[in-house]
């Protein structure tokens, strides 16, 4: 395997040399790194990475291949992938495709033989870094920020309904507002005996009401949450009316919708090893994370919100609970995939809120 020379030209002025694993394809994007040691397929197919060139800090990528069940969306979403030492001859009982087959099938630009650790350090030290994958090292990246309409490119355009798999008699119906949802979120709900309807990110309250949900989930997704200002009043209306769970971008949008602010993290949290403390119980969980923005703790109206979770390392907001309404939100990914399953109880908590709401309404009748 000896690909042609390719370059990653950075907005910082750094130029790193590697080789093309994919056919040559120029690509620009925000540079981010993910520190997970397993789950490269889940990372690549997570829509939150749309518009981003992802550096995998773990050098060996492709060892166990790719398969149909580990897709977090219908296709890879990363703008490009930077890896150190690809394995083109995967070996695993569940492997269906090699990394080369993925490249061919989905046309993902990949550079390998790259000093991914050096790149990671550059991103860590500079924060907002953009890059261009190219065969011409004199070409500089032009893009300076992620497309403000990026969510539109990853959200569903029509409604999809999934039916629960547990055959329990009493089911709940959850509407997932799709800003770039991961399949695992829907799977987590289905496994809790919920029916799930995924709706486009711009759906209105009326459209959602028409689906008669028991609760709403604001999904994860790519980009700067502030780019979705126009949606906020609608989202608040929904959350006011239904038990709501926000995940990642969904969490940030809830904060914004209720008057809070978000800010950019120096270089994001992306990986499977982020410690989060539940402030109510004092317990610490290891979580899967993928975000470049956080909720500004100072900006939250504490008479409305309780901070429920914080990041152990930088004390940033990892979760919040509405003081009077059944609204919870987390910055991390309780659905895992990739990453630890430690915080799966967030879904159980949400399911409990759905049941309580149901019980109250039942009592009203």
């Amino acid at each position: 395997m000896a690909g042609e020379t390719g370059y990653l030209v950075l907005s910082t002025g750094d130029i790193l040399e590697g080789k093309w694993l994919s056919p040559k394809k120029e690509m620009e994007g925000e540079l981010v790194f993910n520190t997970a040691m397993t789950g490269y397929q889940e990372v690549m197919t997570d829509p939150s990475y749309a518009g981003q060139i992802v550096i995998m800090t773990y050098p060996l990528i492709g060892n166990y291949g790719f398969n149909d069940t580990a897709f977090e969306s219908v296709r890879p979403q990363v703008a490009g992938l930077i890896i150190n030492f690809p394995c083109v001859t995967p070996e695993h009982a569940e492997s269906q495709y090699s990394i080369m087959e993925m490249v061919q099938k989905f046309d993902i630009p990949i550079l390998y033989d790259m000093d991914t650790r050096r790149l990671t350090t550059i991103v860590r030290n500079n924060g907002n870094v953009f890059g261009k994958m190219t065969s011409n090292k004199d070409e500089k990246p032009i893009i300076e920020k992620v497309d403000p309409n990026i969510v539109k490119t990853v959200s569903v355009s029509t409604t999809h309904t999934f039916y629960q798999k547990t055959n329990r008699e009493r089911t709940k119906h959850v509407v997932v507002v799709d800003f770039g949802y991961k399949h695992s979120i829907v799977n987590a709900l289905l496994n809790l005996s919920c029916h799930v309807t995924v709706v486009p990110y711009h759906s209105t309250l009326q459209e959602i009401q028409a689906l008669h949900p028991d609760g709403i989930l604001f999904s994860n997704g790519p980009g700067n949450p502030e780019d979705l200002q126009s949606l906020l009043p609608k989202l608040k209306e929904m959350a006011d009316q239904y038990p709501t769970l926000g995940i990642c971008l969904g969490h940030q949008l809830l904060a914004l919708a209720y008057g809070g602010k978000t800010k950019r993290l120096p270089f994001g949290h992306r990986g499977s090893n982020h410690p989060v403390k539940d402030l109510k119980t004092g317990k610490v969980y290891i979580t899967s994370q993928n975000h470049g923005y956080v909720v500004d703790e100072q900006s939250l109206n504490k008479t409305v919100w309780n901070i429920s979770h914080i990041n152990v390392n930088d004390n940033s907001v990892e979760g919040m609970v509405h003081r009077s309404k059944p609204i919870i939100a987390v910055q991390f990914h309780p659905e895992a995939h990739p990453g630890p399953l430690d915080s799966h109880h967030i879904f159980e908590h949400f399911y409990q809120l759905l049941q309580e709401k149901g019980a109250r309404e039942h009592a009203k009748v």
Binding site: F33, T38, P59, N67, A70, A93, N273, G282
Partner: protein, 1080 residues
Amino acid sequence: MPKYEQINKVLVIGSGPVVIGQAAEFDYAGTQACLALKEEEMEVVLVNNNPATIMTDEKIADRVYLEPLTCESIEKIIEFERPDGLLPTLGGQTGLNLAVSLSESNILERYNVQLLGTPLDTIQKGEDRELFKAMMKEIQEPVAESISTTSIEEAAQFATKMNYPIIVRPAYTLGGAGGGIANNTEELIRIAKTGIHASPINQILVEQSVKGWKEIEYEVMRDANDTCIIICNMENIDPVGVHTGDSIVVAPSQTLNDYQYQMLRNVSCKVIRALGVIGGCNIQFALHPETNEYVIIEVNPRVSRSSALASKATGYPIARIAAKLALGYHLDEIYNPITKEQFASFEPTMDYLAVKIPRWPFDKFKHANTLLGTQMMATGEVMALARNFPAALQKAIRSLEAGVGDLDLPSLANVTNKELENKLIYPTDDRLFAIAEALRRGYSIETLYELTNITKYFLIEMKQLIQVEQELKHTDWGAVTKEMLLNAKVYGYSNQTLAKLFHQQEETIENKLKELQLKPAYKMVDTCAGEFEAKTPYFYSTWKEYNEVPPLTKEHKIVVLGSGPIRIGQGIEFDYCSVQAALSLKEQNYETIVINNNPETVSTDIHIADHLFFEPLTLEDVVNVIETEEATGVIVQFGGQTAIHLADGLAEKGIPVLGTTTDAIEMTENRERFYNLLQKLNIPHIPGETITNVQQLKAAVNTLGFPILLRPSYVIGGSGMVVIRNDQELNDYVGEIVDLDEQDKMFPILVDSFIQGMEVEVDAVCDGEDIIIPGVFQHVEHAGIHSGDSMAIFPAPNLTLKQKQLITEYTKKISKKMNAKGALNIQFVIKEEDQSLYVLEVNPRASRTVPIVSKITGVPLVNLATKVQMGKSLKTLGYELGLHQEMPYYAVKAPVFSTNKLKDVDPLLGPEMKSTGEVIGLGMSLQSAMKKAFHWKEQTEQLEQKPNVFLSPSRADLTHIHQLKDVLNDITTFSTKPGATLLAETGIIIDHIITIDEAIQLCTDNILQILYTSVETKGVEKWQNLRETALKMHTACFSSLQSLLAYLSVMHHDMEVPKSIQDYVLMTENLNRQKERVTK
């Protein structure tokens, strides 16, 4: 939660001597834990009778007891010290077993000692198979079907029901000692028998085999708040069936997808929570190669060899954090010591991978059965880090120093396919090389998988390596491109291998790399894959990437070379020396760089040096570090033979080797130059010759006469050394040489007259002018038994003043003539007939006994030697010059063997070293010290009032056997007819005359307590069987009459109450200090 307020003084139990299954990793863990406790202002009391460890240094714990690891002894220490808490999970199986006995005999309760960390019932649940299984059933986690039993019959019934193969594991043993895999009833009965005996509670687990499944380990930590984190997972390349300590292991796992990784992660947390572990825990899984089915193999609720490996692989110091958790802290209250600003409650992530390869002792035991199974046989291990698997594998192979620099084991080239396939099916120490050879012969991955059950990923990666090798091999050197060379480097090829492949000199390759400006870069190990800035990182080499080593800024940057993997002849004592050297350099305000590749050690702890490099200890790898760091000097005296071997090469490259010059080193190792030196100094040396062929050997024997000692020039632990006493032995030896494929390599052989007598040795520090000798060791065994296998007494009790003066004079003369600067060890023999003193050998480096001398005299030998190497004069260092005054107490060092873990190895001692570790006994009286050295652990405690002793003496023994008469009334004697006849000559009447077979039976039935067979019984199968049986049954086994006599003489002697080393040394405080320092 902050730490417990009621705990101010903590007792730590160490793991004792290094044996197979329990090695340096517990010195690392124990040292870390003691330091962590001290950091929390605890007063630390430590019990460990392994004198070679760092943890028993007086600086590591407040009160260090080099005392027997028995309940009785520890109870007395508890009674005296009154600790508030006991930390039991850091001393391996030994520490754990003792904690259990202390608790069960209510000693902890009586003295109000709180057990810290993981609760006792958790330990028992983890250790007792039956309890563990029941608990796993309760939480619905799968374990292999099994029964715990004390009956062989029951074991056989179960096996018949479950079908073979069946695994037998003894309960509560080290490294699975006494267990194995049985393929039929016959094997089962045999293994069950030894297993039941090996277990201290006489219990075995008989288990359905999941042989061939993937073996996966997780290192987990949990705090009292129920936070549970994974430090690292690891994948054994060798599938289930080979003990994990004998497996090649990679971290993190390479062939698990995220689903499987998280599935097992979740189970790990679930199990550890159910167990209630507080601290570190290791959990092992068997994962079906094709499905997600798994079973839990075992749980170790303590720090372990794997946790040491995980700590070094990730940078996360498990033992250190575990100690803090035991004091009540939560993980999110402790800082990550690498990044300093993040907390310990996160999961390390790697951006490289680690490969561990075990180091086996088969180079020492040529007749050993090398088949790997459930009983661990490795004495040590190496770890290599790289950005890809092939490079990590190649670096690990050359770190082994096993005489092979790469995947090419020349002896395999000539084996038949059938033989090769056998090597693939039945794993031995050379299976890795057999795979490489099979790949060269064109075996398909599919076939290799069928033969080995090794996950194909690893086979495919190795195939890639062989492909690169073949490409290089078929390229003309002139046609080699920069790209090719660089690619080879990325794959981890050494210059030596490249030279071999291109048929060039190594220098040619080196020059080419220089010309092309190719050199390695170094990346950091920082626990977080670069996400955060690391404050105390360590480094490994990589190619084609950016160098991250921040330049050291002081004028002097000194490299200390470590000693590599623990092996027989080169153990933990050299790690002690390397660490002390690094600390001394720091104290002198020099910047310090440590290079080593052994993950079990303290020297590879990030806190020891300013910069740590985890690299192979080959010339190329070491020079690369030195050039990158622009180091100003290298210290080679403390890394055993490994480091000394590099001295010449380093000097040739113009790198300053500090202290004794390489020429002087060579002077001591080249026999001819050495004898010349002695002759010039008028010091008698042993008559000897260097011979280069078999004919010369016979001629030499004619001149020198029997007995003679044969050895190769450069040796570790006396490898290949042999005493020949008569024509028959000579003919056998010659026959063996002639049969060798590579007999040329045997030559030149050094032939020395073998002088019978008492051996003594000194460890000195010299500066070329003056010397300091803290004292003289006297060996209990006479010459002919390797000094590493001898008992040694300090100070020497039987030397005359004149002899001591002569020893001092010789040492002074030699050191001055050599211009030796630093540590020096000289071994002497006092000839029996005329009491004349001969120099046996001079080691221009720190020796095995340096840690002992330093600890018991309080004279910090390594510290002084390091200062001398940095140019200081001994006169200015505060200690009296010359031979020091003797201290008023005794120390006895005794060797400890792991021979019972190895198959087909004769425990009989000789000039080749066989011991893996050592213990020490201290006492105001020699007898008490001796008794503590003999009765150093629980199982050696009980001796019947009148023990049964089997004696098989040689004629040579008759001169000394009269001493036996003094103890004859206290023992019942057994011997064979010839033995009894021989003894009758001196008037000793044997109580029972029996055959060897009967002796074997008496051993098996536990009737014989002591066995003595002289060296003359060597090579006779029945005698070997007797000795092997004796070892398995814990019969005290002697090959030297002197050690037998020593043993019997203290048999009924009382042991003095334990005393800390600090208290001992206090007695000598001002004894050998220079006056001006004393007043200070």
